[in-house]
């Protein structure tokens, strides 16, 4: 019998529920396609930890590596040695630089992610007043890209009366994010709304807003985990927030990896493959020298639909 295909899945941090959900996507795909996979992430969301894991996968002679990178540049070298050995590399959720991957599975177009959050907050505050952004760390590539697109979106005339007063960073630590949010509330008495495009930040911000008695007075949106945000959506501290579906993300990454291992695709622009229940996906130019596929647009979670999701991821 032929040996089954093995995928080595690497994510940013061990024990992070977002990636637990992502792994469920791989699980689903493996039942459909009949491959095996192993998964792991460093305890401290470090680049060095991911390299250790990748080297372990190379040692185990996996057929493909599917990675959500902590540092887009930092794993390029080791992934190149993997590719030299014939291992296919697919990045998902958080991309690897073009030189270190065969294909990127993008949750959504960065521009869209930036845009929907600005649209949402503008609508909630009535297109007028001060807003602020509570980000993760100033070093996170995807955060910075989204923030850049948000600023671009804010240039549009319909947002003329909206002022972005500051961007603060909570380092994806709950207590620091909480402190920063509290600092925002105290520093800017006229603050109307906050965008926090990070799951840790938006949850901490919601708690801070509630604790300071500002529920309803300061609007909040961002990218949040349904399980973590369930209560805040239900009681209206956060009217709506967004996130793509990590299960679909993992699922799509698994299908892409298998297609590549089987030789159905090589990762070139224009190639198409079947992504199971998600339908057909076409490979596009990512503009960074590499290619990518898109999974879907961010989903809007509100108090009405949150009950369907809060136990999912």
């Amino acid at each position: 019998a032929e040996e089954p295909i093995t995928i080595g899945v690497v994510y940013k941090q061990s024990g992070n529920p977002f990636f637990e959900a992502g792994v469920r996507g791989f699980d689903e795909a493996s039942k459909e396609l009949g491959f095996t996979f192993i998964h792991n992430g460093p305890a401290d969301s470090s680049n060095e930890g991911q390299i250790q894991i990748i080297e372990g996968y190379i040692q185990q002679e996996v057929d493909a590596i599917a990675i959500s990178a902590n540092d887009a540049a930092g794993v390029v070298s080791v992934l190149q040695t993997a590719m030299d050995k014939g291992i296919k590399v697919v990045s998902w959720d958080s991309k690897v630089e073009a030189a270190g991957r065969n294909l990127n599975v993008d949750p959504s177009v960065a521009q869209n992610i930036g845009r929907v959050q600005v649209e949402e907050i503008a609508k909630q505050i009535g297109y007028e007043g001060q807003i602020a952004i509570l980000s993760a760390a100033a070093t996170h590539d995807n955060q910075n890209t989204w923030i850049a697109y948000m600023k671009e979106e804010l240039e549009k005339p319909e947002y003329d009366k909206i002022e972005l007063v500051t961007v603060v960073y909570g380092d994806d630590l709950t207590d620091k994010s909480y402190q920063e949010m509290q600092g925002l509330i105290n520093s800017y008495p006229d603050l109307k709304g906050v965008i926090s495009p990070t799951t840790v930040g938006v949850a901490a911000a919601a708690v801070a807003i509630k604790d300071m008695g500002m529920s309803g007075k300061i609007k909040l949106t961002g990218l949040g985990l349904p399980s973590e945000m369930a209560d805040h959506l239900a009681d209206g501290t956060c009217e709506a927030m967004f996130l793509w579906n990590p299960i679909d993300l993992g699922y799509a990454a698994a299908y892409a990896s298998i297609a590549m291992v089987k030789g159905d695709i090589t990762g070139a622009v224009g190639e198409k493959f079947d992504a199971g229940r998600l339908g057909e996906r076409e490979i596009m130019d990512a503009g960074d020298g590499g290619t990518f596929i898109l999974v879907g647009d961010p989903f809007r979670f509100t108090g009405e639909n949150i009950d369907d999701w809060k136990n999912v991821y």
């Binding site: 792991n40 305890a43 401290d44 680049n47 390299i51 080297e55 540049a73 390029v76 070298s77 070093t139």
Partner: protein, 341 residues
């Protein structure tokens, strides 16, 4: 009469033998569990992941620990030095790579110098507190230089041949990096354990006042230990960068604790006066064997840490317990003899 059972504790009191025994056991255990992936040849390849950068860092840390001090800022020094290298090289647009490397080493030594000066000047303070503060400082500077960017595009000999290159020795593929590390060990061992200047680190760590009264320039010893530590941290940053292929200001976060753990595992004591280069090497090998085996078996970062913690405590605890047992036995035997006479 000396019975064999009496000899066992004494045997395992030598840390090196204990470590050696553990290495053999670890290897056999995982080799049985994972006969295909956990082989000597494949393990050799993994040494660059687990041994080299932490190893260099631990060599420096060893000196500081021998003095009874501690340096929390090493990983930050590695990050700052690597940053300096990456930024001055500017992907080939800046200084020649050789000069960037020299600047990197100088940065490491300078950071160590600052630590050392603070430690000497403020004897009332614990080095732990001082280096805790300088850690923030060094990483902060790296951050101001690099912001959220990463510096990379190093020459291929660096990021490929050094980072991932193999040399065939007697039919075995040995990582180039490992050879670099192994080249340092004999020299370092000779220097630390067999020369006058090495001896002085142990003396100073055992009793600083008495060493000073005996004519040792203890301030110089301390300063040089911190500077060498900085140098080794920079070297660790260098090899780490050759593996990652690029520098970010977060590089090597948390390595200081690993370096301390390795040195302590190898026989150093945080109270000073103790440490062994051979022990350190064995500790590195043991950790490589263990971590890689666990990685293959469990694929779980937390289990990995858990077992490192367990190992650290057991290796320090077991000789202590055996020592107590030994003492108890000696006294009991003498007591029996006393009763006879």
């Amino acid at each position: 009469m000396v019975r064999f059972t009496d000899k066992i504790p004494a045997f395992f009191k030598r840390r090196e033998w204990l470590l050696f025994g553990l290495i053999v056991l670890t290897f056999l255990f995982f080799n049985v569990q994972e006969p295909n992936n956990y082989t000597l040849v494949k393990l050799l390849n993994q040494t660059r992941v687990y041994m080299v950068d932490v190893g260099f860092m631990a060599l420096g840390m060893l000196l500081v620990l021998i003095l009874g001090d501690i340096d929390i800022s090493v990983a930050a020094i590695a990050a700052l030095s690597a940053t300096v290298m990456g930024v001055t090289y500017k992907a080939g647009q800046g200084l020649p790579f050789g000069i960037s490397i020299v600047l990197m080493l100088v940065t490491g030594v300078l950071c160590g110098l600052v630590n050392g000066l603070l430690v000497i000047r403020f004897k009332e303070l614990f080095p732990m507190i001082i280096t805790l503060a300088t850690q923030t400082l060094y990483r902060g500077i790296a951050y101001i230089i690099l912001k959220d960017q990463s510096a990379g595009s190093f020459p291929t000999w660096f990021s490929k041949d050094l980072g991932y290159g193999l040399v065939n020795i007697f039919g075995l593929d040995v990582p180039v990096m490992l050879l670099c590390l192994l080249a340092v060990f004999p020299l370092y061992h000779l220097w630390l354990h067999h020369t006058v200047s090495g001896h002085r680190y142990f003396a100073t760590g055992t009793n600083l006042t008495a060493s000073r009264f005996s004519g040792i320039h203890t301030d110089k010893i301390k300063l040089s230990a911190f500077m060498l530590n900085g140098l080794f941290a920079a070297i660790a940053g260098f090899f780490l960068t050759s593996r990652t292929g690029s520098v970010k200001y977060t590089i090597g976060t948390g390595f200081e604790m690993q370096a301390i753990a390795v040195a302590v595992l190898g026989g150093a004591s945080t109270s000073g006066g103790k440490g062994s280069v051979v022990g350190l090497l064995l500790a590195l090998v043991l950790l490589t064997a263990l971590k890689n085996g666990l990685m293959l078996l469990y694929n779980d970062a937390f289990i990995l840490n858990l077992s490192v913690g367990l190992l650290l405590i057991l290796v320090v605890l077991i000789p202590n317990l055996l020592g107590m047992l030994n003492k108890y036995r000696t006294v009991r035997r003498q007591r029996l003899e006393l009763a006879k006479t």
